[in-house]
């Protein structure tokens, strides 16, 4: 067994929350630069340049990239040979989020109850998905998930007969309905298969993939390319003000499923795609 302290988890959680909120990844900035070359809308080009400028100002002058610094979404891979000393793992992550959001001058965007809506005052609780894996490491992957794009999510139980065409139609219609609301150009996470709950989780997990990386299975890599192409024909463009750059990436994740089912979930991330991971 390898020991990892409660304090170490708090410190690393805090660090990745703050770093992600002020440093848009080079890969995302590169996507804006590439899109600027192909975008046909003059206003769209101008907006893409503003996104590039905003990322630089954020980094250099210590303003968060976006005022919606998100819900703290975590995918955690806990090695079976890890022992946590000094407290629980969930508590450590929540402590790290609370301290990171306070010390990083980030926004508190969580309410304690969905209907009574009182702000928790420290951006906790984090939304945590946990997986047990072999080994003696702990991997924390963080996504600062904005509410505007989360609100545009959709799920549908298709039938096996709907097949690949049904999946494509549902994904493209979901993006069409979202229009300018999720802050395009977006990253599109698509979950296919599993059960109702697992399928939605897949769509979220898909957003953690590095932008530009493709699905390892050529069949799904091809589906991602076709979806991206169809989405960018919608004309929505940067911030919904028209153009060819509606999404910069589509990531598909799949699971086996029941003989009766073809579940599909779509979860988007805005162009302020802020994520960071750490291995302890």
């Amino acid at each position: 067994m390898r020991a990892i302290t409660f304090e170490a988890i708090v410190e690393q959680t805090k660090r990745i929350c703050i770093e992600a909120s002020y440093n848009l990844s080079d890969r995302m900035v590169r996507q804006f630069e590439l899109a600027k070359q192909t975008e046909q809308s003059p206003l769209g080009k101008e907006i893409l340049q503003q996104l590039i400028d905003n990322a630089r100002i954020s980094r250099e002058e210590e303003y968060p990239i976006c005022q919606d610094t998100g819900a703290g979404v975590f995918f955690v891979e806990l090695g079976l040979d890890v022992r946590i000393e000094g407290g629980g793992l969930i508590d450590a992550i929540n402590r790290g989020v609370a301290e990171g959001y306070r010390e990083g001058y980030l926004r508190f965007s969580m309410v304690a109850d969905p209907l009574r809506r009182k702000n928790t005052g420290d951006n906790t609780p984090a939304m945590i998905a946990m997986q047990l894996v072999p080994g003696d490491r702990l991997k924390l992957s963080f996504l600062a998930k904005g509410g505007g794009c989360e609100n545009m999510s959709a799920f549908k139980m298709l039938t096996p007969a709907d097949g690949i065409k049904g999946v494509k139609d549902f994904v493209v219609e979901t993006i069409r309905n979202a229009g300018g609301n999720p802050c395009p150009p977006v990253i599109v996470g698509v979950g296919i298969g599993g059960t109702f709950d697992q399928c939605c989780m897949l769509a979220k997990k898909a957003l953690f993939r590095e932008v530009g990386d493709r699905h390892p299975d050529p069949f799904y890599a091809q589906l991602e390319t076709e979806l991206l192409d169809e989405i960018n024909k919608l004309g929505i463009g940067p911030m919904g003000l028209g153009g060819r750059t509606t999404a910069v990436a589509v990531s598909v994740e799949t699971l086996p499923c029941h003989i009766t089912s073809l579940p599909v979930a779509v979860n988007m991330d805005c162009h302020a795609h802020r994520h960071k991971s750490v291995v302890l």
């Binding site: 508190f108 965007s109 229009g179 463009g237 028209g242």
Partner: protein, 181 residues
């Protein structure tokens, strides 16, 4: 074109969709929770925390300011969540709202009828827009934290006219221009 709030009907009447405007002066922040409270006051026929006539509402929930700064990141939030409230606020005198994303037909109709405009700021450019805020004063509902109503003084704040007084809608027109399916 420069806009200096508070605005008159003639200030907004010449604006057309796609026009770029620069705002200098005071604007009021309000988003979901503040709109709900404003409506409770309106329904109870009580005084409102600021006069609506000619004012501009900015849908924003900023990040906390670093020491020595008036505000943190301050980009727009999605406007449709305020759509149920906006026609009444426009009828009561609001001349412009600032947010991101399209508005409901009822809001567009109210803008046409009572002569107001909807402006979009670029979503997700919280750093760029936060820098254009020179002053922030608390007005009401401080217990709402980021959702409280603040009076911001902005300088060279950039926005685009998305709905004008004649019922034009930039979102519908621009998307149709580039759609291939």
């Amino acid at each position: 074109m420069k806009l200096r709030p508070p605005l008159t009907t003639s200030d907004v009447s010449d604006l057309r969709i796609g026009d770029k405007v620069i705002i200098d002066g005071p604007i009021y922040t309000a988003r979901d929770a503040a709109h709900k409270r404003l409506f409770e006051l309106i329904e109870a026929k009580k005084d409102l925390p600021f006069p609506l006539d000619g004012q501009v509402i900015y849908y924003v929930g900023p990040t906390p300011p670093r020491p020595g700064r008036p505000i943190g990141a301050a980009g727009p939030t999605t406007s449709y969540r305020m759509d149920t409230y906006t026609p009444t606020l426009i009828e009561l005198g609001i001349k412009a709202t600032i947010g991101k994303g399209p508005r409901a037909p009822e809001v567009i109709e109210a803008m046409k009828r009572f002569k107001a405009v909807y402006l979009v700021a670029i979503g997700g450019t919280g750093a760029l827009l936060g820098r254009r805020v020179v002053k922030s004063e608390s007005v009401a509902f401080e217990d709402l934290g980021t959702e409280a109503i603040r009076r911001l003084t902005v300088k060279d704040f950039p926005a685009i006219v998305a709905n004008d007084v004649s019922g034009g809608d930039l979102f519908t027109e621009a998307v149709a221009t580039y759609a291939q399916r």
